[in-house]
Structure formats: structure tokens, C-alpha cells
Symmetry: C2
Subunit: 223 residues, 2 copies
DNA sequence: TCTGCAAGTCAACACTTGTACACTAAAAAG
DNA sequence: CTTTTTAGTGTACAAGTGTTGACTTGCAGA
């Protein structure tokens, strides 16, 4: 009942010849990607119908059930897919833990790169975080909380945050994650065409991060 | 254009006692409030159907059109309604511009009070901000940007922010607004029953605000 | 008292929706 | 090669959808 996404990938199975007259390749994959693409536009997950999706993919509605028992199951797969890229950002950050300056530059750059590479995924996370499907919503929040915790752990390793307690670290981690998610959403909003708008937003992201870190040395825990 | 012949038509259909429940109270109001209530649960706006809503309200589907031309129009009304309370927070803040300490305490308290009083409205804003309906989504963003600008103006009046330039003020305003919206959402998430959880979140909100303001005196604009 | 209009009613339309069932072709397994 | 599994197909159905149109009421204003 939990997550059964892992076992679906058979090891070492390359895509091969057409199975049906027209369709070739992993339809499951196609369902996921098409769904993400459709949700990138003006549609929410629970406004997306099974028939609509299968129509777009090019299969008959009932064929959907060969790959997912449910639309909710598809939703979970989308969450899984979308978070893959987001986690990568943390990886990148982990390598640059020298100074606060370098850290800020590193995270902003990494953020920008991953947004550009995975637009639809970010859009999905942002919109369905508070979206209609409880299953999807909860999955996203769990993942996001996990990211936040990981960030807190990474922060603990920074020299200028050495003697902060756990609660305070989580506080600052949540502030950072939320700020970055908000920025990401704004970036998605201005669209890929507006380079200047994007640049301004990334600058803002950098400034906000710097401002936050600026307060750190003067922080005194209240407990 | 309208034909109003009263006596002519008697097409074999007995004039049944089609008793109107005579909802002489504002049905329009009822539509708005019921919609908000329904969206507070596990439903997104574009997952809410006209028939579903009217069924809940207790009128026939077609009667909906007496009040709104569209579901989108209803959506805009919901945005309007929901922002009424949010703006009130800014009003409250405006009265407490003495010290940073007082400001933080004031905004957090005001935030809490308004969330409690207007749960559904906040939930609506949060979820439809990135939701499916483009009309609603854009309306919310415009309002939110307006709030952010207003906050920037208010911040400019604070003594310790006197010589900040506009761009920097907007940067900090957006950081604050986003942080508070995120907190609000978390508060909605823990539910009304969990008093301890709520208290912890409000404490976090206060800490985050304080941390941000702590960095302010050391900020040097980069232009 | 009469009349016009806002706000309700019912019936009907042409769709779309999720899902069940029976069937079939192709690939994988033996 | 034969068999089994997988992933596709078509048909069908009951239920839900937005919207039109014609009709009915009760209240407000003349």
C-alpha cells in the first residue's frame, strides 16, 4: 500500500521493438511524462481525467489500468518523479560548504539549473502541494519535510552554525526551503521567454538568502 | 423579447405546487460561503462542479446562473472574499511601527487571529494560488503582489529601514510575505484541534521574522 | 391593485466521466 | 515450437457534467 514504484523497473531491459502497430516504448513512462506536461498548463491534478490523459497518450482509456490501479497511484508516481531533481539540489549544495558566500551562490545556481531542466516537475510540486488530492498532497508534504530535515543536517555542518540547537536549525531550514520554493514558483510564472525576469528573480533569491545568513551571527536562541 | 403570457399556456401539465423554499436570504452569499466550506476539505476549485455546489446549497443547478455567469466568476468572488481578512492584517501591523520587537509580536498575533477566524479563506488562497483555474490563479497573484507592495511601503516608514532603496524593500517584503503564507498553510495543516502544534508554528513564525530583521542592520545594498 | 423583474423551478440535451467485461496480438518463458 | 503473460483493443453502461429554454412565483414599486 505504501510505495511500490521501485520494483517496477526491471534491471537491464532496454527499449526494443514495437509491441503494437503504432505504440512502442514504455507506455508507463509516457503516461507519467504526458501527465506532467498536461499539468504544466492550466490544469490541476484532480481536474485531469483519466480519459483526457489516455487520449493524449494515444491509448484507449481502459489500458490505463495496465499501469496504474488508480489515478492516485499515478499521482504518487508523479511525486516520486518530481522530487528526483529537487533532491539533486541538496547534493550540489553539500559540496560547497566552505563560506556563506560560496554556499549562497552555489544554491542559487543549482536551483536555477534544476528549474530550467525540470519545469514541469517543479510546477507539479508547487501546485499539488496544496492541491485537491489528499494522497498526492500528503506525499508531497512528506517529501518536502524530508528535504527540510536534510537541509537542517547539512546546515549543522557549517562552521558558523556549529553551536545552533536542532530546533533553531529546523526553523532556519524551513525559512530557506519556503523562500526557495516561492522563488521557484515565481520563476515558473514569468515563463521561459523572459530572461530578464528570471535573472531578477534569481538575484532576489540570492539577496534573500544572504539576508537570512546575515542575521545568523547575531542570533540568540530563546530557550 | 420576453414573452409573458400568463393565461395562454396550459399544456396539460398541472401547475404543481413547486414550492420554492423561498430562500429569501442572500443565496449569492450562501453560494460563496458554501463553496469556501467545500473547498476547505479535499477538493480543488476546478474539481468542484456547479451541480455539486448547488446541490449542497439546496437550489437547482440552473439557479446558479441567476447569481454568476460562470464558475470562474464565482472564483473571483471567492478571491475577493478571502483577501478581505488578509488585508486586515496589514492594517493591524500599520498601527505598531515602534520597535522591531513590537512589530514582530504584533504581526504574528494578528496573523494567528485572522487565520483562526477565516480558515477557509486562507486555505482557498493557498491552494488556488497555484491551482487549476487560470482566472482565479491570476487574480490571487495580483492581490498577493499588491499586499507585498503595501507591506514594502509600510516597511519604508520604519526607522531602521529608512534608507533602504525600493528594490531592497520589495525583496524583504516578499521574503516576509512568503514566509508568513507558508506558516499559515502549516497552521491550517495541523488542524484546529492541535493547539500545541499551532503554538509551535506561531513561535517559529516569530523566530523567522526576528531572524530576518536581525540581518537588516548589517545589510549593504549591492548596487 | 396591477405589473415587471429577480430568483426560483423542471425537463431535456448532448457530452464526458470511471470502470467492467470479453477479446486479441505480441512478447517472454518454457 | 507451444504456452503464458502482458499490454493493448472495442463495446457498454450508469452516473455525472454544463447549459438552454420555457415556466412559475413572490416581492417591490408604480
Amino acid at each position: 500500500m505504501q510505495y511500490t514504484m521501485k520494483m517496477s523497473t526491471r534491471p537491464g531491459k532496454p527499449p526494443r521493438s514495437a509491441r503494437r502497430l503504432s505504440r512502442r516504448g514504455d507506455t508507463r513512462r509516457l503516461l507519467i511524462e504526458t501527465a506532467l506536461a498536461m499539468l504544466d498548463g492550466d490544469k490541476s491534478f484532480d481536474g485531469l481525467s483519466l480519459r483526457e490523459l489516455t487520449r493524449e497518450v494515444g491509448i484507449v482509456p481502459t489500458a490505463f489500468y495496465r499501469h496504474f490501479p488508480d489515478m492516485d497511484a499515478l499521482g504518487l508516481a508523479l511525486v516520486d518523479e518530481s522530487f528526483r531533481s529537487l533532491r539533486q539540489i541538496l547534493e550540489d549544495v553539500r559540496k560547497d560548504t566552505r563560506s556563506a558566500e560560496r554556499l549562497v551562490a552555489s544554491v542559487v545556481k543549482s536551483l536555477y539549473r534544476h528549474i530550467a531542466a525540470n519545469r514541469a516537475g517543479f510546477a507539479f510540486i508547487a501546485s499539488e502541494r496544496f492541491g485537491g488530492s489528499a494522497t498526492v498532497r500528503n506525499a508531497i508534504r512528506r517529501e518536502l519535510r524530508l528535504v527540510q530535515t536534510e537541509l537542517a543536517v547539512d546546515l549543522a555542518r557549517l562552521p558558523f552554525l556549529k553551536d545552533w540547537n536542532t530546533q533553531d536549525l529546523h526553523m532556519i531550514a524551513s525559512l530557506i526551503v519556503n523562500a526557495m520554493v516561492a522563488i521557484a514558483v515565481d520563476v515558473l510564472d514569468v515563463g521561459a521567454h523572459d530572461r530578464d525576469g528570471e535573472a531578477a528573480l534569481m538575484k532576489r533569491a540570492e539577496q534573500q538568502l544572504r539576508l537570512i545568513l546575515l542575521g545568523v551571527p547575531h542570533w540568540k536562541s530563546s530557550r
